[in-house]
């Protein structure tokens, strides 16, 4: 199994992670990646993601297995932060390596839609010194409907 799924509680370096993942799959013709980061120009001063140990990482691993079985991939990488993050800090990195690029694009896109809508993370944002919990958006469920 060439998958790499991690729940991280400290800052990570997406460029280095992507370099390592790419080097681990030299027979893949293409690698598609998605990097999500805390936006810098919002009024948001900090973002916190909370996870629940017994469910969050197992759910991410299950997702990786589903993605891997659905497309012809050499490997998949799913890294997700938990804890407090500042603007411009990376939150999530998903990458898929495959022989044909169509598979990598679809796999990374699918993985992001499902990570966002279904993973066991609770998010709150700090604005003007005040923390506020974020509720789910209808768009997240609409994203999932694309794959049915």
């Amino acid at each position: 199994m060439a998958d790499d799924v991690r729940l991280l509680t400290a800052a990570f370096d997406p460029a280095e992670e992507l370099r390592r993942f790419t080097a681990a799959h030299p027979s893949a013709g293409g690698v598609v990646s998605f990097l999500g980061q805390v936006r810098q120009d919002d009024a948001v001063e900090a973002l916190e993601l909370q996870h629940y140990g017994p469910l969050t990482l197992p759910g991410m691993e299950r997702l990786a297995g589903i993605v891997h079985s659905r497309w012809a991939l050499d490997g998949i990488l799913i890294l997700h932060r938990s804890g407090v993050m500042r603007p411009a800090e990376p939150i999530v990195l998903v990458a898929a390596a495959s022989r044909h690029r169509r598979d990598s694009f679809a796999a990374a896109d699918f993985a992001m839609d499902h990570l966002k809508a279904e993973s066991w993370f609770w998010k709150r944002e700090q604005t003007g010194g005040v923390w506020r919990w974020i509720e789910p958006r209808p768009q997240d469920y609409a994203d999932l409907d694309r794959w049915i």
Binding site: Q50, Y52, E118, S119, W122, P136
Partner: protein, 77 residues
């Protein structure tokens, strides 16, 4: 003792992330909590997990050492 775990906004409502409670039926445990918190925990959109496994039935009886987590809808986007 058993342990209740509160995620997301429930952490704020409970004023803590975890709470030690006496073992027993869930309804008895909830009856001992602040009514506003108990009401929020009964919201059907809040899922529950017993010792790390999601369960559908709220008629659970907590044994000593059990961990019951209350999981509000995840935040998405």
């Amino acid at each position: 003792m058993a342990r209740l775990v509160f995620l997301g906004r429930l952490t704020d409502l409970a004023g803590c992330a975890e709470l030690e409670v006496a073992p027993g039926p869930l309804e008895t445990v909830l009856a001992g909590l602040d009514p506003a918190l108990a009401l929020a925990l009964l919201d059907e959109r809040v899922r529950i997990a017993l010792n790390g496994d999601l369960i559908g039935d709220r008629g659970v009886v907590l044994a000593a050492g059990d961990e019951l987590a209350f999981l509000p809808p995840v935040s998405g986007g």
